[in-house]
């Protein structure tokens, strides 16, 4: 990776379309700030999922994070968000 600290985030456009697509009513709109903050929440969600899976893999002494590790952390992850 060229720049390690170049922060990886969800594109604002993606988040906007994603959330708008799930709204029940068409007239519901999304403010620009709200979209940016949601992108941030989603990033934290993914990082949390990845970190917890990694911890689980570590505790089982595995070199690679596999689906069973993610399966184990999933219930608590969903409860925390």
């Amino acid at each position: 990776m060229a720049e390690h600290d170049a922060e990886i985030v969800f594109k604002k456009e993606t988040v906007g379309k994603l959330l708008s697509g799930f709204f029940k009513e068409d007239k519901t709109k999304l403010s620009s700030d709200a979209t940016l903050l949601m992108a941030e929440i989603l990033k934290v969600f993914v990082q949390e999922a990845a970190m917890r899976s990694q911890k689980q893999a570590q505790s089982e002494d595995c070199d690679q994070v596999d689906i069973e590790h993610f399966e184990k952390i999933l219930p608590q992850l969903l409860l925390d968000f």
């Binding site: 993606t14 994603l18 709204f23 934290v44 969600f45 968000f81």
Partner: protein, 119 residues
């Protein structure tokens, strides 16, 4: 659902999958433990479905405030379940506000965004 809508959905899923993949790769490099493709796909799918939950919550919060536009205040409510996340989002929101103030170069120091959404 029309074919067109279906395609947009698939594209959005692909976009989420792409970003999840990059985030996982970065974490994998940092900690020397890679993620299998299956895990990345599973995290992407979970994120996608979680978006559905978030969107419905946001819509309901906005409606409750008699608004039709989802604002930063609604997002703060979505983050209420975890106190650390809640604080993090509050700070981000402040940052965004400050940036906007710089742009508009207004001198007003209204701090109405500091209302905290504590349980």
């Amino acid at each position: 659902m029309s074919v067109d809508q279906d395609e947009t959905l698939q594209r959005l899923k692909a976009a989420v999958h792409f970003t999840v993949g990059r985030l996982c790769q970065q974490l994998g490099e940092d900690h020397g433990r890679g993620f299998s493709r299956q895990v990345i796909a599973a995290i992407a799918e979970t994120t996608f479905r979680q978006c559905d939950v978030f969107a419905k919550d946001l819509e309901a919060f906005a409606r409750h405030a008699k608004r039709s536009t989802v604002t930063a205040e609604d997002v703060k409510l979505v983050a209420r379940r975890s106190s650390a996340l809640s604080v993090y989002i509050q700070n981000k929101s402040e940052e965004l506000n400050q940036e906007q103030k710089k742009k508009s170069s207004g001198k007003r120091k209204s701090r109405d965004t500091e209302e905290e959404s504590r349980e």
